[in-house]
């Protein structure tokens, strides 16, 4: 069990190419075609305006200035102002529309991913840590947010700006245009050179920060253990090590970062320098106007900024791709257990259960159940007993279809569970799991989870039926007590009772109790036993327990050993058999049968 920690991320696996990822992300945006078109138009407009502005300035300097024409000056000045406002509004409009599109895409993606996760089968959850799955839903989807709602369009827009300016300036002055463009290769080389550095540096920081995070996460989840065994010093040493590594990698990244951006700016300064030098000498010669030179200075600024943004964007693109890859990997993982296309809902059931020559194991080559055969009549109460690890929980995992059998079949009322819809199957089966999981909220909320629209009476009935009313009303605020994260503010026995009541409230036709009362006190247990007859009336039930008191009353006791049924029958019959069952329980019944050395100590 691990707390619900969000583990930070490791590396890209390159299971998908950048192009595939991009295509797939864009597909989410394409759901909004009209907005897409609107954005394209607005972006084009804003580029137009952006290019126009320096021309107006040139007009002002070269023509209107000193012409004495106040009218013209006013006109130019107003045009300049109007263009500024137009630039603002178009930018606002397209950024806003982009944001709505991008965020809708993110919303959809997250919802889709969650839906997919709900459909994933249990083996998926066995294999990946909950922290990592949570991180997909939260962090990885978020990583794409910037790219989808700003980045993608902006980078396209920036590229167009660069192309547009690159073309326009040639129409104005070829020599200065060449100079302006001449700096671009320098810029590109520098960027590419640094990019490798930066990427490597950031990759390392991501690695080190993720070990810092997971170190924190495990220390927080295992705080009780760490304290119990006074491992604080050693944990601290381990932490110091990862912390130091993180320090170092961040300092390295900081160094690369500190050189990169100022260098880029210096190169753009170099461009201005050249324009000034060449433009200046041509001004002296009188072969160019001042307005043109100023315009080029402005253009070079407008020209470099997009390049810088694109370069800058690279890191966030990388991060988005990394997130996208992991999200799509999950989306492309098919659940091993899922509804058949022609699955039918389970009709109201009687509750006959058949395990027919079932073979099953969690890992390849390691069978847990071997040729497991069991027929359970409707209304019967079966107790499953056996050593720990014999496969008892596994049996009910199969009935609930958390996993699919290797061979053989599991049938409910004659229907193979694989032919039924999971939803209909599971809603008829109530399970009280070995380690109860409670949601944050009150005790009442948690019990109600079993049946959302249960009346107060039904709820109290369920609590009463399992003899939990005494225990639960002793809580600080009775049923209104907050249970805390995963129920941590309740005692273990209380958690089990709440989880029991929750299952019972759902009124399932088949009830499964997997050590549901192992930590419940004897009196409550007794109360449950007495109520059991009523509780299990009209239900088929499977009870897994180690306490004799819980199982003696079962209609049939099935003894499992290494995934095989070795004995079955009533308690008295099995005791008479003096076999496995007898050896399991003789000690509990005749504790004195074993010579216990501690007695000598008195």
């Amino acid at each position: 069990m691990s707390g619900h920690m969000v583990a930070d991320e490791e590396e890209r696996t390159y299971a998908y190419s950048d192009g595939d990822l991009l295509k797939r992300m864009i597909r989410y945006l394409l759901a909004y075609r009209r907005r897409f078109a609107a954005v394209s138009v607005l972006v084009a407009l804003s580029i137009g305006v952006d290019i126009w502005i320096p021309f107006v300035l040139r007009q002002a300097i070269d023509v209107d200035f000193g012409s004495g024409n106040a009218q013209a000056l006013l006109f130019t000045s107003l045009l300049y102002i109007v263009l500024q406002i137009a630039a603002w509004l178009t930018t606002f409009a397209y950024e806003y529309i982009m944001a709505t599109m991008g965020q809708h895409a993110i919303y959809t993606m997250r919802q889709e991913l969650y839906d997919h996760l709900q459909g994933m089968s249990q083996d998926f959850y066995d294999k990946s840590s909950s922290g990592r799955i949570i991180s997909r839903l939260i962090n990885d989807v978020e990583r794409m947010s910037e790219l989808l709602s700003e980045g993608l369009f902006s980078s396209f827009a920036q590229i167009f700006i660069v192309l547009a300016i690159g073309t326009v300036i040639f129409t104005v002055d070829i020599q200065l245009a060449l100079i302006t463009l001449g700096v671009v290769p320098v810029l590109l080389v520098t960027t590419i050179y640094f990019r490798r550095y930066l990427r490597e540096a950031y990759r390392r920081t991501r690695k080190t920060i993720s070990s810092v995070t997971s170190n924190f996460a495990e220390s927080i989840s295992g705080a009780k253990e760490t304290k119990s065994f006074t491992r604080e010093k050693k944990s601290m040493d381990r932490f110091t090590e990862v912390n130091r590594k993180d320090y170092q990698s961040n300092v390295d990244a900081g160094k690369a970062n500190a050189t990169f951006f100022p260098s880029i700016r210096f190169i753009s300064g170099l461009g201005v320098f050249l324009i000034l030098l060449v433009g200046g000498s041509r001004l002296i010669q009188g072969t160019i106007t001042l307005g043109t030179v100023v315009m080029f200075i402005q253009f070079s600024d407008r020209f470099f900024r997009p390049i810088l943004t694109i370069a800058n964007f690279y890191t966030s693109v990388q991060s988005a791709f990394a997130g996208a890859e992991r999200v799509f990997t999950v989306l492309d993982t098919e659940p091993t257990v899922r509804d058949k296309p022609d699955a039918i809902p389970l009709p109201p059931i009687k509750g006959n259960i058949t395990f027919d020559h079932v073979h099953f194991g969690y890992l390849e080559d390691i069978p847990v159940l071997k040729d497991f055969e069991l027929e359970i009549q409707a209304g019967e109460t079966i107790a499953l007993v056996g050593d720990t690890g014999a496969g008892k929980t596994t049996v009910i995992n199969l009935l609930n279809r958390f996993y699919d059998v290797w061979s053989g079949s599991v049938r409910v009322d004659g229907f193979d569970v694989r032919d039924l819809t999971l939803e209909s199957l599971r809603s008829r089966i109530g399970v009280v799991l070995q380690s109860p999981f409670l949601f944050m909220g009150t005790v009442r909320d948690n019990i109600r989870y079993g049946k959302h629209d249960a009346s107060e009476e039904e709820l109290l009935d369920a609590v009463e039926a399992i003899g939990a009313s005494r225990v639960l009303s002793n809580l600080e605020n009775g049923l209104e007590t907050e249970v805390g994260e995963r129920g941590a503010r309740l005692s273990e026995g209380e958690r089990q009772l709440v989880s029991f009541a929750r299952a019972l409230l759902a009124d399932p036709s088949i009830l499964i109790l997997d050590e549901a009362t192992s930590s419940v006190d004897i009196y409550t247990e007794y109360a449950i036993q007495r109520g059991m007859k009523r509780l299990l009336k009209n239900r088929t039930s499977i009870v897994i327990a180690h306490r004799l008191s819980t199982i003696v009353n079962a209609d049939r006791i099935v003894v499992l050993e290494n995934g095989e049924i070795v004995e079955a029958g009533k308690h008295s019959e099995l005791m008479a058999l003096k076999g496995k069952y007898y050896s399991l329980y003789e000690l509990q019944i005749h504790p004195r049968a074993m010579k216990v050395p501690s007695k000598d100590r008195e």
Binding site: M1, H4, L57, A60, S77, I81, A87, W88, A99, Q103, H104, Y114, Q118, D126, S129, I138, F216, S219, K224, E225, S228, T230, E232, M236, G254, F261, G269, V272, F273, L276, L283, I284, L290, Y362, D387, T388, F402, E423, S435, F439, H452, V471, E485, R486, L497, R502, A506, V520, E525, H546, R547, L548, S549, V552, S572, L574, L587, I589, R601, E602
Partner: protein, 636 residues
């Protein structure tokens, strides 16, 4: 706010770095701000004079200024990064240390996800502020002032006009802080809500699936997700509206400049160079506007984050090592509870006046109702929680706490303690000293926490295993333990045989990255782990509830040998395992109701004996038939 100045305290530990990067940033900014002057000079003098040599000099000067700016900027950034990393390193160590010291009440009261966020995400936000925040605010101010000074040298009159832009800059900063950011924060906190719903559902996915409540949960996620979408879009709308507003205003100012400059030119006031210089300078004003608003934003964010992170350092809670701890190398293992009252920081007393004296080497079985306080009681020995240190008493089955003035309210009545006694309705109740837990006759609060915990081995009711190999898990307390030691602990806990069936044996990794253990297997690994620690006091909290009866007996038997010379507390709900205990303690609602050996308690015919008989009845009703038909002997 206080939190940023506290963060600054940390930064000032690296005084050299701190002032170093500020100086570098300042000088760099000066170079940046004066470069337009070169432009003015080139246009107005060099070109008019037509002097090529001078042109080269001036343009080179421009390049030099840019180069200096680059050098100082780089230095500033680098030194700032160094400082930020140093501070973060320190802060993280401190946070980690503090997390290690926290009592369990802290972990009860704070969601684990929240704690993690405080020490990771929030620390990252603080790092951002350390790296950018100071510099950006400082550069913003220097640029703002510098630009105006430079403007003044170009044209005092126009500068006065341009001063009207200053209010715009500040309005922008304020509007951003007041209008845009609250929405950003709302979006972020909704993100937090969405995250916890998602996280909880993933962790509890088995429950969601087995109750077939997927549709309902989908709708719940959808609601939070939609709420987030709405807030996020609103935030982005405001952001894209306000963010470009400052450049626009300055663009408008340039437009105005065209008119006023142009007409001024006619009057012989403004030269071309001055005009171009002004246009450049006004555009440069955008920078401080952006920087200041960015800086303020970072400041706000960092301040909120710092508050959240420092919270962890500040609840350096009640549980603390004493100033002058009692030194211990070895303990004998006597445990005494004296008049213990305890509550989980609520009003409800979980333990009420518990007195229990355990001699070294005794085996104590704790028995009692669900939620009667057994776990809470044993948690006091290793100081996972501390006893209530106020005086309290029980009256008519209910516990009351005395306030500082020795007064208490019962119902309507206000009563006061006189001579260590309280008189209620003519009934005198002796008020005893506040409760204590003693180990070897010394209050546990007088030991260093680590010293005491080293001698206690606990198997928790719901054990947590780390995603490590089985060997590392068992050797958690003593990583240097040899494989033989690990094995013998595993044998005693009856898990060795199972481990041997695994391909990689003790090197098998368990948990998320490896195999999944069944409930009973997990418990037995946890028992082995506690045994390896070789504690003087061993506590088994319901630690065999998922273990079958036979295995439990065998563990019990193995423990008998191991328990020799150890004080052992066993909490269990199975009577069969506790008959041999030296002392059986029955608890009900936080009080000890009966205590003694099995025989003694049976003879008392109290709660224990009634439970015993009930159980025997239940268990033996059926088995009697079975064994009798067999003609087997029937023990009791």
């Amino acid at each position: 706010m206080g939190y940023i100045s506290r963060l600054t305290q940390y930064a000032l530990k690296y005084r050299g770095h701190f002032f170093g990067f500020l100086t570098a940033a300042g000088i760099g900014t000066v170079f940046n701000v004066i470069s337009p002057l070169v432009l003015v000079e080139i246009i107005d003098s060099v070109i008019v004079l037509g002097d090529y040599g001078l042109l080269v000099t001036y343009t080179l000067l421009y390049l030099a200024l840019t180069a200096f700016y680059m050098i100082f900027d780089t230095t500033g950034r680098y030194v700032a990064a160094l400082m930020a990393q140093h501070v973060i390193y320190d802060l993280r160590s401190e946070l980690y240390d503090s997390l290690m010291e926290k009592d369990l009440a802290f972990y009860d009261q704070n969601e684990t996800g929240q704690i993690l966020a405080r020490v990771t995400t929030d620390v990252t936000t603080m790092r951002e502020f350390l790296f950018w925040g100071y510099r950006v605010i400082f550069i913003g101010i220097v640029t703002l002032i510098g630009t105006y000074i430079v403007m003044w040298t170009v044209s005092p009159e126009l500068t006065l006009i341009m001063l009207t832009l200053v209010p715009f800059i500040f309005t922008f900063v304020i509007v951003f802080a007041k209008k845009v950011r609250p929405v950003l924060y709302a979006a972020r906190s909704q993100y937090g809500v969405l995250s916890s719903v998602l996280a909880e559902n993933v962790v509890g996915m088995r429950v969601v699936q087995s109750f077939a409540t997927a549709d309902r949960e989908y709708a719940r996620v959808d609601e939070e997700n939609r709420g987030f979408l709405k807030l996020r879009v609103e935030a982005l709308r405001l952001l894209s509206f306000y963010r470009p507003i400052l450049p626009t205003i300055f663009g408008i100012a340039v437009g105005a400049l065209i008119y006023f400059g142009g007409t001024g030119y006619d009057a012989g006031g403004l030269s071309f160079g001055q005009f171009v210089g002004f246009v450049t300078l006004v555009s440069m004003l955008v920078l401080p506007g952006r920087f200041l608003s960015w800086g303020v934003g970072m400041y706000q964010r960092a301040s909120a984050s710092a508050e959240r992170a420092f919270y962890i350092l500040d609840v350096r809670d009640e549980l603390m090592d004493p100033a002058e701890p009692v030194c211990v190398d070895e303990i004998k293992g006597a445990v005494d509870f004296e008049n213990v009252y305890f509550s989980y920081r609520g009003n409800n007393f979980i333990l009420q006046g518990v007195d229990l004296h355990v001699k070294p080497g005794q085996v104590v079985a704790l028995l009692g109702g669900t939620g009667s306080g057994k776990t809470s009681l044993i948690n006091l020995i290793p100081r996972f929680y501390d006893v209530d240190d106020q005086r309290a008493f029980v009256y008519e089955g209910k516990a009351y706490r005395l306030n500082d003035k020795n007064c208490v309210e019962i119902g309507e009545k206000k009563l006061m303690v006189v001579d260590e006694e309280l008189e209620i309705d003519c009934q005198k109740i002796a008020i005893r000293k506040p409760g204590r837990v003693l180990v070897d006759g010394v209050d546990v609060r007088s030991y260093r926490i680590e010293d005491i915990r080293r001698h206690i081995g606990i198997v928790h009711q719901d054990p947590f295993l780390f995603t490590d190999s089985i060997r590392e898990n068992i050797a958690f307390a003593r990583p240097e333990a040899t494989l033989e030691e690990v094995q013998s602990a595993a044998e005693a806990a009856m898990i060795h045989d199972f481990v041997m069936t695994l391909e990689k044996g003790y090197d098998t990794v368990i948990g998320e990255r490896g195999i999944t253990l069944s409930g009973g297997q997990k418990q037995r690994v946890a028992i082995a782990r506690a045994l390896l620690a070789n504690p003087k006091i061993l506590i088994l909290d319901d630690s065999t509830s998922s273990v079958d009866a036979k295995t439990e007996m065998m563990i019990q038997k193995a423990l008998e040998n191991l328990m020799a010379g150890r004080t052992t507390f066993i909490i269990t709900h199975r009577l069969s395992t506790i008959r041999n205990a030296d002392l059986i303690v029955m608890m009900e609602k936080g009080q000890i109701v009966e205590m003694g050996s099995h025989e003694y308690l049976i003879s008392q015919e109290g709660l224990y004996s009634s439970i015993f008989h009930t159980l025997t009845e239940m268990e033996l009703a059926a088995s009697y038939v079975g064994t009798k038909t067999e003609g087997g002997d029937f023990g009791e």
